[in-house]
Homo-oligomer: 355 residues x 3
């Protein structure tokens, strides 16, 4: 990423902190990986395995940890050093700065093709894109941006500074916090899956709860967060959901928990704070998961988890022929166990009879 507008290294450090060693007046235009960086760009060293590569980078400046300063100074590297506590987080903030610098200027207002109910309250600083539909009693707070094709149902509030990308759907009666980013195809507040069975037929249970979402939440493309049945579905501050995720009705997701793509969480699951879920992990309903639990990709969480830690449960991949052998044994594992038990008994008898 090379941008049109550059930043002096001294300005970067003034804004983001860190100790600058080198030419403070050098202007950089973007961030690049170690091997692609040049005199116009800065780079970063976060993974210790990449130290050697870092020593050879042509970047104008490199963001490093204190512990790497000596190594870099003794390496062939000639550019500036920005010494910080957490180079990866610093890189993220620096990238945000370049991004902001090069953003399109957009003018507040409601596009003439948007359909906005007369009873909706839209802040003067908000941007409502083309072909958007906003129903009655919606509140759109300051500096919100709602892109083309979005739908916002009646009585929903979108908190200040939030950004809804094109073709997002937020249903009625939801409360969205500040600085949310919802990606295209996300569906917030659709009905939960609730039915009573009566003689083999399904009777729909109206889903009359809503969805409450804290501040700084991101919801990925084509991800769904269902509304609650009687009470609300709750997503706390700082939660990050990737694409293609399903969050069932009445789930409660603790602050700063992150879920990778294709995760599914069944209804009424209560998930702690600072958890992470690998891609395609699945959580059954009505479970409770403690804070700081990490679920590996592709794992099915079928019981509550009360201790922090890493949990895993997927079947190991193998050449198909090997899988067929293993799977056949798994199907009859109790047979194998019974054979071991029988052997144990006979061996016991044999050793008993030994002199």
């Amino acid at each position: 990423m090379l941008s049109l507008n550059g930043i002096r290294l001294s300005d970067l450090v003034d804004h983001l902190g860190g100790q600058l060693i080198g030419n403070a007046d050098h202007v950089v235009y973007g961030i690049a990986p170690l091997e692609h960086a040049d005199a116009n760009s800065i780079t970063f060293l976060s993974n210790p395995k990449l130290r050697k590569k870092a020593g050879e980078t042509l970047a104008a400046a490199i963001i490093i940890k204190t512990g790497d300063a000596e190594f870099m100074q003794q390496s062939p590297y000639q550019g500036a050093l920005i010494v910080v506590d957490n180079p990866y987080a610093y890189f993220a903030r620096a990238a945000q700065r370049f991004d902001t610098l090069n953003q399109q200027p957009r003018s507040p207002g409601i596009h003439p093709t948007a359909v906005v109910d007369a009873r909706a309250q839209v802040a003067a600083s908000a941007i409502i894109g083309p072909l958007v539909c906003i129903e009655a009693d919606v509140v759109i707070e300051d500096d919100v941006q709602i892109d083309a094709g979005c739908f916002i149902g009646r009585e929903t509030t979108i908190g200040a500074g939030s950004h809804l990308k094109p073709n997002v759907t937020v249903h009625h009666g939801c409360r969205i916090g500040r600085r949310a980013i919802f990606y295209s195809g996300a569906i917030i507040g659709s009905d939960g899956f609730g039915f009573a069975n009566e003689n083999g037929r399904w009777i729909k249970i109206p889903q009359t709860g809503g969805v409450r979402i804290g501040d700084d939440v991101e919801i990925g493309a084509n991800t769904c967060v269902d509304r609650g049945a009687l009470t609300d579905t709750i997503i706390e501050d700082g939660v990050k959901l990737d694409n293609q995720i399903q969050i069932g009705h009445n789930c409660h997701i603790g602050a700063h928990t992150a879920m990778a793509g294709c995760v599914g969480v069944a209804g009424s699951a209560v998930i702690g704070k600072h958890c992470t879920f690998g891609g395609a992990a699945m959580v059954l309903g009505h479970l409770t998961i403690a804070d700081h639990v990490h679920i590996s990709s592709g794992s099915m969480v079928s019981r509550s988890i009360s201790d922090a830690g890493q949990y895993t449960g997927f079947y190991p991949l193998a050449k198909n022929a090997d899988w067929e052998r293993s799977a056949a044994i798994v199907r009859n594992l109790d047979g194998l166990r019974d054979k071991v038990r029988a052997l144990e008994k006979i061996v016991q008898k044999l050793t008993d009879t030994e002199p």
Copy 2:
């Protein structure tokens, strides 16, 4: 959920049946869980584990089974009893009544921003929302509601009383039954995944079948039901599909079958009536599944199932360190089995040689 409009208990029982014991004139305004219910709300007791909690509820009325009447009458509970056969189904119907009572009055007609082909037939009682696109030769029957941003392709029929939530896509040549509810982001009648391989390249097979959907079918948010290749994909009456589901081309899903979120069904699978699929269950193509089969969440159905019953197949979750040990053994289960066989032989020999 507390609504503006209340219902007298006697009116509720007049409409929905059941035996009322207590003050028939009491007015209730909604339904609440046992622990949140108060003098304005009714609640229900369906799960026997909650009996004790039910005895302490402050609800104005409680829906119970015959067998629970004596217990409730001896408990501290002071409100009315509604004695029924199936309290959960009764709760669903009561909730529907409150929901209907409090629904927004909406007026039939076509929103001026909707793009409706001159050759489409739209019933006078139908509601077509803003920014909807309806192509030629579409038939929209009585009392249909099509919300903002939906697309209906040519020659498709939407049955009476159906409701398409915002941003639903129904492609050409589909027949949708009565009282359907399609949730936002649902895609009906997209092309099935059909290709012939020729020297390593994929030649597309046009998907010229359609989708036929019975009455009282619900299709969840961001769920896809593909059109058939040469003949139709069929979903029978009363089927309920949750969010993020994929139904491949030429599948046939029997009446009153329900699937939880993230289920995938590959092409040409034939699934019986009254089946249930837990979340993220997967079904391979060209399989046949009998009526009354229940598949547990996260299970891969890799062969046909001819007997009713519950089937399961997911890898048990464990602490990551434990998983690594077990997974390593699973990878080499045939080695373990061979060791057991070798032991059996030696032990056999040992016992044979014993005096």
Copy 3:
């Protein structure tokens, strides 16, 4: 599928090749499966198991391999034979011909309700449907069709002959090749899932790469392909993605690879050419998969694969009671292995002490 416009068998063979045996002047109106075909339709024999059924088909013509000609000539079958190398691919091409013949004539131009930026370049031969939004500096090449409700972000190029079905979203700065087909709900170029963790909070890493897609690529309904973080996500020529797929940022998918529904590929995975992925297969991030690798449905690819071949990894399905027994043993497989080891030692000692 029976179409209004028929084709003489001789015309079909003139266009698509193959050796015609029988009445060259016979006109057919569509393609049907062996058992439904009649004097108006052609059919095909690809699966050798269906030979007997083929002998009894009433089709006007049948597409067969050379090796099946003798069998068919000695069967009761009376229609024409079209003898080809690859009957299934020939069937696909014949179906394409019928499909083309019967397509609605559509007239180029921009629908008056579409919102097209003055700085977008739209070819005169392109069709832009109702309620489409096209931002500045977009390039829409010749013969492109963009259906209702699509969004195309600034500076994106859509290659000649591509077709975007209703409600597709393509974000800014993407390059789409020729003859692409994107199905409804597909999201191309949404932000990748990139965050740096700083004291338990997630700092967003701006996703400044784009998406580059080759020629002849199909992307299924509700499938997401994320944009890259610093460099591009790349999908090569001829790739076919089914519905509900997630492709993470900076993935690189080799030419002519096909993925069935619900597949997930985490960020930075590099996948070879001519691979296939069964439904719901999952690929972890930063892996490399060789050309001609085939992953079975429901398998989790948790390590790189350097050899072509078929790989599998899902837990075998069982009656629930059987599963509970096996799963309990899997959870404690190391216990079982330890017992076998202990037995081995004792048996070793027993055989050693034997005379």
